[in-house]
């Protein structure tokens, strides 16, 4: 095993174990903490894939923003100090089905389409090391990404649609969370 593989295994073990804590902890606040650790582990996985920008984005958006939102939501809706939630609720069966289906989908994509997947060598082993890419390409990848967000030949339409999506999310959230004007008076 190379150093890279050991690092990968360690980070994956960390991510998975914290993810298990998220679903087993009865105390919602601790579960949220473990969720942050899971996000950190995912950021670590991005770094091992040489995707530094994604790792930083993961940190900024998921730990810095989404987790705060999650904790705020927990604090506003639950009695904090006594919180011990039951491990199962009415949606657990549905959640199980969703989890199995999405896992199957990912597995199918990777297994069935592995010959179309140029980066994975033919003999797929879980520990196949990643391809070597020149450092200049990696350093410039963020710039390439930024350029393709807004060039007419690439992803400018999805980019604008993302903006509309964000706008819809903001407006929707305010409509749901904010009391109506007449309620306030």
């Amino acid at each position: 095993m190379t150093v890279e593989q050991i690092v990968f295994l360690l980070i994956s073990a960390f991510t998975l174990s914290t993810a298990v804590i998220v679903v087993t902890k009865r105390n919602l606040f601790h579960a949220a903490l473990a969720l942050m650790a899971t996000f950190l582990g995912v950021a670590g996985l991005y770094v091992t894939l040489d995707a530094g920008f994604l790792a930083a984005a993961q940190l900024l958006v998921y730990i810095g923003a989404i987790s705060i939102l999650v904790i705020f939501a927990i604090m506003m809706t639950r009695r904090l100090m006594q919180t011990t939630e039951p491990a199962y609720n009415a949606q657990s069966g549905f959640a199980l089905v969703t989890a199995v289906i999405s896992f199957g989908l990912i597995f199918w994509v990777f297994y069935v389409f592995r010959e179309f997947w140029p980066l994975i060598p033919d003999a797929v082993t879980p520990l196949a090391s990643k391809p070597i890419v020149a450092d200049e390409i990696l350093q410039g990848s963020v710039v390439v990404m930024g350029r393709s967000f807004v060039s007419s030949a690439a992803y400018v339409l999805p980019f604008e649609i993302a903006s509309v999506l964000l706008l819809a999310a903001l407006v929707g959230a305010i409509i749901v969370a904010w009391p109506k004007a007449e309620d306030k008076a």
């Binding site: 903490l33 930083a56 900024l60 730990i63 810095g64 904790i71 705020f72 604090m75 904090l80 100090m81």
Partner: protein, 426 residues
């Protein structure tokens, strides 16, 4: 005598540790590893030790601003050892955990704060060759790491099992989270101008310091960095009169010391970052490259001195502001952010992006800087004019409404929405 003394001296100063290790072991990966470990240790130790000096400096300067003398008992007539004495005091305090505290969150919070405050230093370019690591996403890295400290506040507030702590944490999080938006937008401007997110590239691109090219971005960044570090006039995090001491009210001894330390370390980082992004970092009319051809060390030393002078100049402004301005109210803080800073910085980013593309390629750096400066001044004047007419309208509303309502009618920024003015109360 064939012994060339000058040559010997030069070889002595240009021999770096990594060269030495490479000579010893050859070009092995663990040399890099060891150098990285060494870099981390040196960087962190520097940050931790300089805080002792920073606290003394702050107390002394604030004292002078308020026409006091400041610490002058421990360690000579300038009180140089006052902070050391304070550290010892903190070290021998009893380590208390309040009843009902969430031990995990309570313990994790000071650690996270210090870790976040230290880790941002990795991308700070001290001198042409002295930097932790020149990440290609340097500025984005800084934003990502510093957003973690918000989580630490929330943990501290929640872990303490105290109403004031929780209330303080909520307020602080609202403030920090809000001011991150103008900070992000203001930092986009130097990135646009330098066409890179790496801090080193940004320093190298500043033939004209960005303070002149983008004064509004610098101002917005400065204001939001005041809020992000929780300093006056935005020090609601620890408004004693309202919420005792805010999120760290239940912390004592060195655990409290860690919050204190993180605050100073991140304030110094912000001044250094401001110096890097807007004042040209280690550059000063090419002085730092003067000797770069001859020897590695002298150029770096010069760059280091330039950088430190700039950093402490900015730090002095932070202290100065603390000594001068009062604290503002929580609603004023948030209104000022969302209704003034964010729209202005959005306009600023759009303006800079369009303008820099429209400028002809024949323009050199100075002509570009002039055009940007002009555009910035125009934008600032438009903003001030809008504010002025708004304030005029508010004053008129208030005077129409009678003397009874004037108390809430005129706040400094005049950003109250008309619909929520006292008129609605009738």
């Amino acid at each position: 005598m064939s012994f060339d003394f000058l040559e010997f001296l030069k070889s002595l100063v240009s021999l770096t540790i990594s060269d030495y290790l490479r000579e010893l072991w050859g070009n092995q990966p663990w040399v890099d590893f060891l150098m990285n470990v060494l870099g981390v240790v040196i960087l962190s130790t520097f940050c931790l030790l300089i805080v002792i000096f920073l606290i003394w400096l702050e107390r002394k300067v604030i004292a002078r601003i308020q026409r006091r003398i400041g610490p002058n008992r421990v360690g000579g007539r300038y009180g140089l050892l006052q902070t050391v004495a304070d550290v010892i005091k903190l070290l021998i305090k009893e380590d208390i955990t309040p009843t009902g505290a969430d031990k995990v969150a309570y313990l994790l919070a000071p650690f996270l704060t210090v870790m976040a405050a230290l880790m941002v230093w990795a991308v700070m370019p001290f001198a042409p060759n002295i930097i932790g690591v020149d990440l290609n996403i340097g500025i984005f890295y800084f934003l990502a790491i510093s957003s973690v400290s918000v989580v630490a506040l929330l943990l501290a507030g929640w872990g303490s099992n105290n109403k004031y702590a929780l209330l303080g944490a909520f307020r602080s999080v609202a403030q920090l989270v809000s001011y991150e938006v103008p900070m992000i937008l203001a930092l986009l401007v130097p990135i646009l101008l330098a066409r890179s997110m790496s801090t080193v590239d940004i320093v190298n691109a500043q033939t004209v310091p960005y303070l002149i090219v983008a004064p509004l971005a610098a101002l917005i960044f400065f204001i939001s960095s005041l809020a992000e570090t929780g300093r006056t006039p935005f020090d609601l995090l620890e408004a004693e009169s309202e919420i005792v001491a805010g999120f760290h009210v239940e912390y004592g001894g060195m655990k409290f010391g860690m919050f204190f330390l993180a605050e100073f370390v991140s304030t110094l980082f912000m001044s250094g970052f401001f110096a890097t992004v807007f004042l040209g970092g280690y550059r000063l009319f090419g002085l730092e490259t003067l000797v770069i051809g001859d020897g590695w060390v002298i150029g770096n030393l010069l760059g280091l001195i330039i950088f430190f002078v700039k950093m402490f100049a900015v730090y002095f402004v932070y202290i100065w502001i603390r000594g001068t301005l009062p604290r503002v109210r929580v609603d004023q803080i948030l209104n000022f952010n969302w209704k003034f800073l964010v729209p202005v910085s959005l306009a600023l980013v759009m303006m800079t992006a369009v303008l820099d593309k429209l400028l002809p390629d024949t323009f050199n750096d100075f002509a570009r800087a002039g055009a940007h400066l002009l555009a910035n001044i125009i934008l600032a004047m438009i903003t001030i004019e809008i504010l002025r007419s708004y304030a005029r309208r508010q004053r008129k509303l208030a005077s129409d409404d009678g003397a009874a309502e004037t108390a809430s009618g005129h706040d400094d920024h005049g950003h109250h929405e008309p619909a929520h003015e006292p008129v609605a109360a009738h």
